[in-house]
Amino acid sequence: MEAKKFTNINKLEKSELQTFTFAYPPAELILESGEKLGPVTLVYETYGELNAQKSNAILVLHALSGDAHAAETNGWWESLIGPGKGLDTNKCFVICSNVIGGCRGSTGPSSTNPKTGKPYGTDFPLVTIGDIVQAQIHLIDHLGIEKLLAVIGGSMGGMQVLQWMVAYPERIRSAIPIATTMKHTPQQIAFNEVGRQAIMADPDWKNGHYYGSVVPAKGLAVARMIGHITYMSDSSMAEKFGRRVREDKKPFKFGAEFEVEGYLQYQGDSFVKRFDANSYLYITKAIDYFNILNGNKNLGNIFKGLKAKVLVISFKSDWLYPSYQSQDIVKACKLAGVDTTYCEINSTYGHDSFLLETEQETQLIKHFLNTVSNGHNGGKQ
């Protein structure tokens, strides 16, 4: 793994970071676009112990800006994963890998292109959620796991869960898609597009070939700021910032005067240090292109024959991935006769709820996983 200017490698190195490289030429990964990618490296972390039957493995799938470091200190889902927590590492073996196209150790646009010896940049092929999941199945095979106890994720992680349900239904015993959708609406695509335009309008972007020089920090920071607005809710922002003015405001007309401005600028600036602008472009495109209904006009056929139990969770104040989108997933499950549970959690944090409102989430997930692992089936077959 080469060192990258923007990556906070230190944090990653402290944890139990593992890598798996596969798809060496000529057996490259064939992407949905028809292009080939190889070799492919996935960076992943695991927590807990895999049991002798290899029946207690849970794959955690991260969202747009996430990485393999899901649990333990500073893990992005630290509140849900750990001993005695929702994903109980005393009982389960939890795996989380960074997605392909990403910039946190897995192969992406900032990785070295074996053909040129230089970073791919925008020569990196377009990847889809399907491709991301296809890479994950190689990792699961590599770990010798035949059937996962659960696949779980929120937002883009939830899209990967849906993809698992469709692409590898026989490899999962349960699926937990959270605050997600079967396909992006024009509104959701629009927010991503503004983020992409901000990056591409930054003169430092240089058509994506900026590695080794200055990174398009301004553009990426603005993209992250837009993202952050969509992750919160009107009431969570009001509660967090009000109209309070920063005490350390600088004597400049358009400085960050309101706390919310300072917060967004801070989020934008700190994101630039750990994330690659090109990865932001690639991953948001993968999210926008995702459509589990592709070529399937009948909603009832999508999950037909799925034996896994499904737990769908949405959040009342999430306006980026509103509950109706989760209810559509539930509808498709019902039509297919899939054993499904659905709950809309009453939370005010907006889309961020899936990371923050973990108390309710924990209870649901814990009990649901107990039911799955005990084989006790309360539901319809």
Binding site: V330, K334, D339, Y342, C343, L364, N370, T371, G379, K380
Partner: protein, 196 residues
Amino acid sequence: MTQATLKAEHKIIIGWIPKEASVLDLGCGDGELLSLLISEKQVHAQGVELNETSIHRCVAQGLSVFQQDIDTGLSEYADNSFDYVILNQTLQQVKRPDFALKEALRVGKKVIIGFPNFVQASARLQILRGRVPVTKALPYEWYDTPNLHFLSIADFKAYCKKRNLHIEDSAFIRKNNKIRLLPNLFAEIGLFLLSK
């Protein structure tokens, strides 16, 4: 409603449902009846409930449950998707009982209805005294009742006749016991097993 009253209703409903049937419980509450049906009859159970706290309790018992408003219908289910659809202590609380019952009869081969009898003797006495009744089966004050519709056993029978619904079986409960004599006067709860 007392725990004891609930038990008698549950006993009758469990008796009506054969082993390994598929059951949809509309307004399943905390999942008490569905859990009993699974342990007693190994049914394939699916619950529908609006209350989030109740959903958590159902999931804690290992039940599969959807958070949904029954008033929005059951359009995702094909005709006869379930052997039994249960509306126990639910019908009087939905906005459109006629629509809910129609949907239940469409997706279920058979439908079980349970409701409090509004004209039971002690309720009649309270009305004669000039008060809206508060009884064991109708424990709510006028200002906090979730019940939107008040019906009697006779009303429900008349309704079934009007809608051409076949009553396969019925049972009436007073003080946690099955009764036969003058149910419209004495029963606190009416239970009906309907088919199309």
